[in-house]
Amino acid sequence: MTDRPLTKNIRPGQPPLDLKGYEKAGGYAAVRKALGGMAPKDVTQVIKDSNLRGRGGAGFPTGVKWSLVPIGPDAPRPKYLVVNADEMEPGTFKDRLLLEGDPHQLVEAVIVAAYAIEAETAYIFLRGEYILAAKLLMQAIAEARAAGYLGNNILGSGYNLDLHLHTSAGRYICGEETALLNSLEGKRATPRAKPPFPQISGLWGKPTIVNNVETLSNIPHILVNGPEWFKGLSHTPNGGTKLYGVSGKVKRPGVWELPMGTTVRELLEEHAGGMRDGLKLRGIIPGGASTDFLGEEHLDLQLDFDTVGKAGSRMGTGTMIILDDQTCPVGFVHSLIQFFAHESCGWCTPCREGLPWTEKILAALEAGQGEMADLDRLGKQVKFMAPGMTFCPLAPGAMSPLGSGIKRFREDFERHIREKRCPWR
């Protein structure tokens, strides 16, 4: 048994395992186990017991999510499993590693998960720019189908599953699960109101589960090795391993599979090699762009859903972006807000109108045209786009680095206004 289940087959610089290699490394054992006699609800129970939480950022317990899907002969049909592989969060490149490094692992996970919810059809919704991943996934799907892991009567179990790859036309909002479903239906990628949740009325109005790539990739291993093994991989009560990433001006940016609860310090200093020479750490956005800044005082924070939450931020995708002392924090935040303003779907007022206004203020600050009143307005914008005010979490996510950034770097914001310029330029 490995302590790096997700990446054990991944060899940097080498192509991923083909079907034979993957099977030789123990692959498709979970499919055999699940379809070879487990009832769908038993599969769900194992995942529930493992306390696997969604790796897309929200950390919702996966088994609980699955258990909300109607099961049995009276359930609406068809049902769908959708893989959210639309990895577009700024600073996040963890799913890409799994997609390019071990596509069969995902295909196997899809079969097991789809079986657990009795889905007939599964889709992988893939970020359009992940061209290599698309190629590798298509190969893996074709191999799996040829080997009888996909299609009708899989391994003689009587279970049928079709798996389709859909490459996105490219909007960040498609990473939001309901916008993803609309996009998959050929509609505008606008999020849907919940309730109804996708488990009840999802793709084409049918019960649907949308899971992140990393989340799903854990499934075969949990099924084969058991929930207790999974929990034991972690340093904290949030079980399993996690793909952690570091970007920014560090010596060795990258992504690593480490026990859940690895500290910021270990990640930054041991794995990423510390800050580049001459640079000092000023801030950390722990999980993609949509999370609150942490600082030097959080170096010994264990990175998991609960602990980071208690520290006032979110682990999110677990792929941190580092702000150093020679990068303008205002420009840093501006760059993020520019992205979010551009990626707003345009559905709800606070996001559609609030983000561009916010972006224009930050641009003005950077251009030396800021006014002191702008800081109050930025504060109001953070409140205006708080969770619950908007239709979906995009704008509240965008406000996380801004709101925490203003608190943490207020002096930098004020200097831009006082000096009528960006001090870093």
């Binding site: 109101a193 303003a341 007022t349 559609r352 109108e353 206004w357 005010m389």
Partner: protein, 909 residues
């Protein structure tokens, strides 16, 4: 009912609503944009935020969108909460960041929901200091003006146009703060219901282009409740006038009839009233012995005396009424000439068809539904009607009815009806049963379960087969093909399986068997204890009223004149050339010594009249129409026309007085005229009650036609006379041509338009409804004159017609209808005339092949000596052996039925 707490006060609200509906139903002020009562909730604009508390001890609460939150029992919310108010103000401030603030030059100004909501929210200081984004506008055709910069992105337009009205050539494009609502390229909007965008849009993105040509602010318009004259459905409208010119038509909500919307014919067909060609003066046409004609304007008194002499004892006068003239006018004509000399103005065939419909509805057990109830049907069969082009608003209702059956999917998983996006997500493209059997393809086919195109007799045969499939005792035709039998079985199963099955038929195919087949189907359903409804379209705005009054047909009138049994012919609001063969009408003019025509618009008939009397068009007078449902509805004078123009019934009354048949006191008011109607014609009993009498007063006051901000009262006529004239008198209604009067709660039939303090746009309607989407307070306008004979079991109509037999040389004419063009009066309106299709003769591919013609080749149609040339349009959906002729556009002989027409290719010379 549930108790909810708003700002700590308990309120009783109806179950199944959302909080926004509940608050508005209670008369509370709460701002909103993306929610629309007919479109439901989507939670996009975030304008309706309120604070929700867990219980009475929760002081913190959290903001929720009232439109997306069920008004469940014991929920506690606050509208006045400081945080909620601030948030609503912030939303407006953000919506306004890119708004051009061009209210002074915006057509929406003064009736703008955005203005109202801005004031309601309290936002006034603008902090945004950056550049506004701008858009390029599109030419959307003759009806609608586009000004995208004003857009606040509420998404109502696209939800209305696509999701509700089924349009496809309009969408939302791009994303973030650059979203754009329009067409993929500039061009005329294709939907027959595009004009509703003007009222759906909460600001001035979509405005009325016809009104723009003679623009007037809402508060400067004089208005009165009116009824649309452009089809038989009787949609309620609010015409607006200034300076004697009709400026626009707006929807007037009637929960039972048109609800929130109008069709484009009804909204934009009004300009005929403003035409320079209008008949506005008494015209006398003299012909000397040499046959030379002189036309002169005559003095009203002289002409009345002249006509009185003509009508003096000894001379026989006959009257020809009209299905587009009011009940009062037709009745007054009948009273003038005597019932034995009165003719309906409809052809024998049309009289028979409409009378047959009324007879079926009166003697049979099936109820005729209101337009609103048509939207509730869950399985529909359309037999012979191109609903979109004949009764457009019925088509808009049918587009909603197909949602009823699949809605069960959403109900099953607990989605409330108002949660629009979720309902549509769950239902997807599923449609309930709708079967369409018509001579040629129709626009509604796109939402139909299945369609069947055949010659009229074969449509009737399908109907008989359906009735037979429901009840084997119902007769069916001989030699019914397996295909038709199978289709009939499918339809019968769907109708039987429905809670509210509906059959729609009408006079469009000019085929009585179709009407009888429709009756057999619903009677078979009723017999097997299904609550089946039967709706007939009516050809014109008062076809049913004219038929209820009764009288002989136009054919008989022509014969009477030909036989020399009439000296004077009086025609009220009827262009005989649109109905009867040219040769026959010519013969009438030849044989009649004197022809008097009363009409408001010039027609081929007025052109030949000896005396033409100028009649009031609908906004210039009062009267009553009876719609296809048998609902009598009053239209009230909007403005007093100039000169001698007056209601046709007033002209006829004047003739009665002039001839000494009545004294001046008779019918001095509309109400007195209606009293006579009710006394003389029991079938019309009830017409008097469709609006309160002229003596009605609310707290001692009349009802003002003018807004309290109506400007220029003392200045409007100052170039003529600086003295302010006396207010014009209105003997016919409790309305007054004034700004002063009662503005509170009124009987709905007297409400000129909807306005409430703080609510200047069409959205003020919520203040007048018993509940959101429900009836107007005190009941929706109109009195139903036709009710079924509950529990009756009439004998089925006899055998079905024989299979349609193709003839070797001649082809059967079938009328093809056009929303723009087939109706007489709207076709006279220039903006609408732009949309009238070019003439054509439609042939099936096999007929075209037989005649060796292709699209665009010219053919000549010949019938009884009349000839008409038109380019060929080859239509694969048209049955073999028929020729499709555009209704209202081709000469009447080719539209009479059954017309077997010789069609020949015209060789290019």
């Amino acid at each position: 009912m549930a108790t909810i707490y708003i700002d700590d006060k308990p309120y009783e609200v109806k179950d199944g609503q959302n909080l926004l509906q509940a608050c508005l139903s209670l008369g509370l002020n709460l701002s909103y944009f993306c929610w629309h009562p007919a479109l439901g909730s989507v939670g996009a604009c975030r304008q309706c935020a309120v604070k929700q508390f867990k219980d009475e001890n929760d002081k913190q609460g959290r903001l929720v969108m009232s439109c997306m939150t069920p008004a469940s029992a014991n929920i506690r919310i606050s509208i006045g909460d400081a945080e909620a108010k601030e948030f609503r103000q912030d939303v407006i401030e953000h919506l306004m960041t890119n708004h051009p603030h061009d209210c002074p030059v915006c057509d929406e100004g003064g009736e703008c929901h955005l203005q109202d909501m801005t004031v309601m929210s309290g936002h006034h200081d603008r902090e945004y200091r950056f550049k506004k984004r701008t858009h390029i506008n599109q030419d959307l055709g003759p009806f609608i003006n586009h000004e995208m910069n004003r857009c606040i992105q509420c998404y109502r337009c696209v939800r209305y146009y696509r999701d509700y009205a089924g349009g496809r050539d309009f969408n939302v494009f791009a994303s973030h703060d650059n979203v754009y609502f329009g067409r993929h390229e500039p061009g005329t909007l294709e939907s027959e219901f595009s004009g509703n965008l003007v009222e759906v849009c909460p600001t001035g993105v979509f405005t009325d282009k016809t009104q723009k040509k003679h623009y007037t602010r809402r508060w400067d318009l004089q208005v009165a409740p009116s009824i649309c004259v452009h089809c038989g459905l009787g949609c309620n409208t609010t015409p607006g006038e200034r300076y004697g010119q009709l400026r626009r038509i707006r929807n007037r909500y009637n929960g039972e009839v048109n609800g929130y919307f109008l069709c484009d014919r009804g909204r934009y067909g009004y300009e005929f009233v403003n035409s320079a060609q209008r008949v506005k003066q008494v015209v006398y046409r003299r012909r000397d012995d040499a046959g030379v004609e002189t036309v002169e304007k005559a003095v009203k008194g002289d002409v009345l005396r002249y006509l009185a002499r003509l009508l003096a004892d000894g001379a026989t006068a006959i009257g020809i009424g009209s299905p587009r003239a009011s009940v009062e006018t037709n009745f007054a004509l009948r009273a003038l000439v005597g019932p034995e000399n009165y003719f309906t103005g409809m052809t024998a065939l049309e009289t028979r068809l409409v009378s047959s419909m009324i007879e079926i509805l009166k003697t049979g057990p099936a109820r005729t539904p209101s337009l609103d109830e048509i939207g509730d049907a869950d399985a529909v069969l359309v037999l012979g009607e191109d609903v979109t082009n004949v009764a457009p608003m019925m088509a808009l209702r049918l587009r909603q009815s197909v949602r009823n059956e699949p809605m069960a999917v959403a109900h099953k998983i607990g989605i409330p009806d108002w949660n629009d996006a979720a309902v549509r997500g769950a239902v997807q493209t599923k449609k309930g049963p709708l079967f369409i059997a018509t001579p040629a393809a129709t626009k509604l086919d796109e939402i139909a379960t299945s369609t069947y195109n055949a010659a009229p007799d074969n449509l009737a045969r399908l109907g008989y087969a359906v009735a037979n499939a429901i009840d084997p005792e119902a007769p069916t035709g001989d030699r019914v093909s397996a295909e038709v039998r199978q289709l009939a079985e499918t339809i019968a199963t769907a109708l039987k399986g429905a809670k509210k099955p509906l059959v729609i038929a009408g006079a469009s195919c000019a085929n009585e068997c179709i009407i009888q087949a429709a009756a057999n189907i619903v009677w078979a359903l009723c017999k097997t204890e299904h609550a089946a409804a039967l709706s007939f379209t009516a050809p014109e705005c008062n076809s049913v009223g004219a038929a209820l009054l009764g009288g002989r047909s136009l054919d008989e009138a022509i014969q009477t004149v030909r036989d020399g049994r009439a000296d004077v012919v009086i025609i009220a609001e009827n262009d005989l050339y649109r109905r009867a063969k040219r040769a026959d009408v010519d013969a009438l003019f030849e044989h009649a010594k004197h022809v008097v025509v009363i009409d408001h618009s010039p027609t081929a008939t007025t052109a030949k009249a000896e005396v033409t009397l100028p009649a009031a068009a609908f906004p210039e007078g009062d009267g009553t129409f009876v719609n296809n449902e048998g609902r009598a509805q009053r239209f009230i004078q909007v403005y007093v026309p100039e000169g001698d123009v007056q209601e046709s019934w007033r002209w006829l009354r004047a003739l009665r007085v002039a001839t000494g048949k009545a004294d001046v006191a008779e019918w001095a008011t509309l109400d007195l005229a209606l009293a006579s109607v009710e006394e003389a014609v029991p079938a019309l009993s009830g017409v008097r009650n469709c609006a309160p009498p002229p003596a009605f007063r609310a707290l001692g006051q009349k009802v003002p036609r003018q807004a309290h901000r109506y400007s220029g009262r003392t200045a409007m006529r100052a170039n003529i006379n600086v003295s302010e004239p006396k207010i014009q008198e209105d003997p016919d209604s409790p309305l007054t041509f004034s700004m002063e009067g009662y503005r509170g709660e009124l009987p709905a039939s007297l409400l000129p338009s909807f306005w409430a303090p703080g609510w200047n746009s069409a959205q003020a309607l919520t203040r007048f409804q018993e509940e959101i989407g429900g009836p107007l307070r005190g009941g929706d306008p109109g009195v139903r004159l036709i009710e079924p004979a509950a529990g009756s079991a009439p004998a089925y109509f006899g055998d079905a017609p024989k299979v349609f037999a193709v003839r070797k040389n001649d082809r059967l004419a079938v009328s093809l209808y056009h929303i723009f063009g087939s109706e007489e009066l709207s076709a006279l309106s220039p903006p609408l005339a732009e949309r009238i299709p070019a003439l054509y003769a439609a042939l099936s591919p096999s007929d075209a092949e037989a005649l060796e013609v292709a699209n665009g080749d010219t053919v000549e149609l010949r019938l009884n000596g009349a000839a008409w040339r038109a380019p060929v349009s080859v239509r694969p959906d048209l049955p073999r052996g028929t020729v499709g002729v555009p209704a209202g556009l081709a000469a009447a002989e080719f539209l009479s039925a059954p017309a077997w027409i010789s069609v020949e290719k015209v060789s290019a010379t």
